[in-house]
Symmetry: C2
Subunit: 338 residues, 2 copies
Amino acid sequence: MTTIYDIAKKTGYSPTTVSKAFNNYSDVREKTRQDILRAAQEMGYLPNSHARTLTTKKSWTIGVLFVEETGAGIRHPFFSAVIESFKQVAVAKGYALMFISKDVGGKQSGYLENCRIRGVDGVVVFLSDYDDPYFLELLESDIPTVILDYDTAQSHTVCSDNMAGAQLAVNYLAALGHRKIAHISGGGNSFPGSQRELGYIAAMELQGLEVRDGYITEGAFFSRESGYAAMLKLLELADRPTAVFASGDLLALGAVMAAKDKGFSVPSDISVIGYDDIELAAYVSPALTTIRQDTEKLGTRAAEILLASIDGKGQAKEALMLPVEVVVRDSCAPLGGQ
Amino acid sequence: MTTIYDIAKKTGYSPTTVSKAFNNYSDVREKTRQDILRAAQEMGYLPNSHARTLTTKKSWTIGVLFVEETGAGIRHPFFSAVIESFKQVAVAKGYALMFISKDVGGKQSGYLENCRIRGVDGVVVFLSDYDDPYFLELLESDIPTVILDYDTAQSHTVCSDNMAGAQLAVNYLAALGHRKIAHISGGGNSFPGSQRELGYIAAMELQGLEVRDGYITEGAFFSRESGYAAMLKLLELADRPTAVFASGDLLALGAVMAAKDKGFSVPSDISVIGYDDIELAAYVSPALTTIRQDTEKLGTRAAEILLASIDGKGQAKEALMLPVEVVVRDSCAPLGGQ
DNA sequence: GAAATAATCGAAACCGGTTTCGATTATCAT
DNA sequence: ATGATAATCGAAACCGGTTTCGATTATTTC
């Protein structure tokens, strides 16, 4: 590996001047800069980012906190779509993405600790469990963060308008004539899940519809399995719903399967609407009507906000909420119609 | 940020001894080590990985070369599943994963250059276009690499047995009585794509079946859209096939949609078998019969091989090929039967 | 009790950069 | 020609660690 010292030796200039030449200092004249750049080219010089980071305190890397617990991780289609577009703008600005885990090499050290050790300039957070003490520890710190799908005044946040999305879903079903509309929630303590549930309740009230007993069933981890189980419960109700709003597309898929298995037809017997518009929503049969989140914008805006925060611009925490839209496909039908 | 110098000052030992205490040198006695560790704990000391890397030449980071061109990137379900399991073993061994792009900050610099700048210890490669000159440049270098879904003597490689998988697919269709079996290839220059195509041709020959005119259609990037287009072509053939082996699940999904749109029923009119067994293969309707690759093992074995290579073990390039299996679902039916 | 040996520690150099500040030389105005 | 100013460069300190090797002290050995 050739260093600036090698270049200094070869060109006769000092390491100081060589460094300055690369960093466009105004006190090195053009000829000198050219000499140095040419020599660097010939010698195959590449800067050492670790050395540079050591002095400048800037690593040009962004930590990525990604769901680990559920085992889904990078696999989850919604998460990975967002991160992908995040990555594109970060890379364009000169940053690299690095996954930060809480236990490295068997030691349980936590997110913050690993961020510090690695000297990341900022962190994008995309967790499912925001009660994790290691996450909270990071949140309290001074490291610039942007959090997806969560709401807190302690950090910049970017999320879809989950309440509005849920209301869109309910309103759409109501417009089709449905009055007995049930909800399969995402389960547990997830932020988007509870927001959508609130949105569902609010929309039902606004529509003058009753949330009957047992109409809110708890799915877990937005998984297809739990959607299946939840739908079974709904179908056993004496006062069976005619439409179901599921808090996630995988839940909805499970629900559709359960309905089919029990001999119901979707959408003629029962309508199902999902949430997310994951890629496969369009491929299943019936194609899933759902609420689309703009994953690309979610990712790019998150990146822009984080990078601005790293640059010290805008101290105030930004809470961006992106609009959603309903994507009409084939899993919902007018009540009694079809 | 507290440094070893701060600890040295507080404890009265030298920075040298402090460093040694952390690195378990045998020439620091137990009491001293305890003093130092306690002080470090109290002061909230965390090592600076950049400083450490600068002297040791070991960054404890692994570069990830991930498909960028197609825009699919991390999104592609098969790729991300493999990387996820790769990540788990790498992290367990103390490594972090960092995405390496070829153009950072607008400059087109290439993979190798960025690997050098970042000082990664090794690289896992998961590209779709292995003709990329920037990839070739990396391949020629001395950086330890493991490449997925590719075959070359210049690097460790891990891939599924694509030819055998294709033969499994053809044999399965043939066993159902099909004789007019077409193939939708992955397109272009992808290694798994061409291997599967070769496997298809070989299997057809072994079965004594004719590869009729137009029976091999080129899909692009394993995408659903190209699968759709390819299927349309196949359906227009005078000598229409009764079964189709698609080189990827998304291709197969597109093919199924095309068939449906043209009024054909899958599998009664035409059977379709895919490849990969991505998660949604089980959810679509009809559930997709496909060839399953063991993504978890692919990822973990790749990690193990790369880490061993980084540790200098086993100079010989390893070429691991993992077996595949056919997963029978509902998209294939006996010829004329049902 | 002296010599040999083991245990414990630290000075100093090094890794590859950046940045401050002063020195030197060239250019300018008067 | 002279003092002032601008342009150009480099010495040295620093970032936060690691590692070699020698010095000192404690412990054995005979």
